[in-house]
Amino acid sequence: MKKFDKDRLILGFAGPVLALVVALALTTVVLLASGQNPFEPYRIMFDSASYADVQVLIINQAGTYYLAALAVAVGFRMNLFNIGVDGQYRLAAMMAALVGASVELPGPLHIALIVIVAMLVGAFWSGIAGFLKTTRGVSEVVSTIMLNSIATALVAWLILPKNFGEQPAGSNNLTTGEIAESGWFPGLPMADGAGEIYGFTFVAAGCGVLYWFALNRTRFGFDLRATGASESAAQASGVDAKKMVLTSMLISGAVAGLAGMPTLLGDTHTYSLDFPTGIGFTGITIALLGRNNPLGIALSALLIAFLDKSSASLDQYGYEKEIATIMQGLIVISVVVSYELVRRYGIRRQQQKVGEELAAGHALTTEKEAAL
């Protein structure tokens, strides 16, 4: 069995690395075709990423992406496609900011309250899709697309000064008001003004561990994975499929609600019209790229954050920033294609082994020896 695992490890790494090389090569072709220097952009990006302040940005952004991707991954593990992470995230951040700004509590309590509100709101919003799916059979793909847009409208209405928002004097922005300092999540300051790593980034990492543990070490996680692998088999095994759909939708939404927290608690301390959007969609990409595996998602989140941030200064050097988007697309494609090729190769090998050992007729003895 050891040998299988070593093979798997090698294969597991060879795939993505090869894919990255292919993606870079293709991007280089694009650059060449448009008559640009094919190497300079990479150098600029790597240079830029070698500075501490950009590194901090990358890590912070990765934390947010990580949570969004975990939210998506929880659904994917069940074959539920939660496109609504973006809406859940925005609505949750907004409501949490509202509540956070309207109360004053001792530090940890204040933060806890905000986080809980965010999770509840996120869960509520995704729960609508879950409820409609379990009771009315409405496809979650459609309902979450709709709920994203409805969330936009709802947030726009709630944040009106005549409702719950405010418009700071002299500003053209609308906000929910500032959260008192007791509700700020302390960050980890870096030397020489390189900024600080949001404290919530560590919580995000913790969520990853929790995700792994819950999925691989608990009964609930087993049921969830089983349902994702085969709904009919899971049902026969005693899983209440409807309850599972609803539960995982709720969890997914709660985690989506958390995705706004690094920014809200660590930086802006308020929700305003220019609060980052589109996080949920990036989360889908990252979850898929990371194959719904907590470690894979972490690496993917870092990769995408790296591409985002290190490419930010490309335009100042006369290069088109869009090259980073193209690169992202190419990376996703080549990575998943290589995963697939590696997987097929792995399956063939496994089957061959099974076949060979059966043919040799000593499958049993091998097994017994291994057991001893």
């Binding site: 009315r136 793909v141 409805i150 209405w157 889908i284 988007t325 690169m327 190419l330 294609v337 697939e340």
Partner: protein, 421 residues
Amino acid sequence: MSTSKTTAARPAPQKGNGRRKLTLPVVLLIVAGGLALISLVRLISGAEDITSVGQVAGALELAVPIGLAGLGGLWAERAGVINIGLEGMMILGTWFGAWAGFQWGPWMGVLFGILGGCIGGLLHAVITVTFGVNHIVSGVAINILAVGVTRYLSNFAFDGIQGGSSKQSPRIDPIDKITIPGLSDWLADLQQHHWFLISDIAGIIGGLITGLSLLTVVALLLIPATWWILWRTPFGLRLRSCGESPVAAETLGVNVYKYKYIAVTVSGGLAGLGGAFLAIVATGIYQEGQTGGRGYIGLAAMIFGNWMPGGMALGAGLFGFTDSLKLRGGAENVHAMLLLLAILLVIAVFWQLYKKKYVSAAVAAVVSALLFTWYFLTDQVPSQFVDAAPYVTTLLVLSLSAQRLRMPKANGVPYRKGEGK
């Protein structure tokens, strides 16, 4: 225990059409009833715009890109490939459509828009069919790639050209529009009288034949054409068999890969046409971000329509209609819709009571009462809620209508030649 009518678990239905099939008279009756209801609401609320010629024409124009994307989704998914990359293919359509359109005229633009979408579709086919990658990942990647590529290319293709910039193309010449001279005016006139039912019908027919772009006609024709090709030709039968049971198709000598490739490429082409329509007919210009999620809405419309062309068109029409309502003085129009919804719910209450589903009936009754209250206590709906109208409507329709959606059985399932059991 009764001695009668127990049938076997899987009884052989006595007639070929044992399934739910709405006959034409029933459909017509439902349509007529709906129209009468809308007309009634119009009279009560005074929102004369809800069935005006302009409203219907506007709805049509807003529905066409969504419908084309949905049709694209239909082709791909009928052949078993989920296409979440419609948005990206649409973006390619807008870009290529505009790029060729401003240089060589609108019809070249249409052609190139289709080609642009086809490229996206082909890429999706390569990734999903040849490499067997998860269809959703591939679609998401194509969406990213399309955004990146079009933005990148705009820097070279549009920037510095008169009327263009790195975000938009120069203006494209319009495509001819047809209006049947006497008839259109007469219908518009008729509509202006605001008579019960007659004006509404006049408005709807008028809206469908006034200022109709030739490309709109093409798009409309594509719906029955798709139905005919997929359900009435050997080609369509083979294509659909790839979405239902590719292994069975394979055993009968169907080249499943080929049909999947064709379907997904056509799917991209249709989405591209939707994009080209946006750029050339709807706006006359390429504009970064102008698709704005319509590909996803198209996908939703297709699921809404149960993977059938007619249903999909209905879904796209619903989006177009509510979108148009909201854009054309939404506060008032959507306010009127509250009344419509409330009345519909009253009907639902009676239906549920008839079916002895008391809980559902109670829920519907409460919601209906709330809507009536809302309607009578206000004159307008806040603009923020107006914006949500198309989406709320869709959710409501989907959750109230019984769920009998059936997607192609092998949709999204990876297929490899020779691996069938």
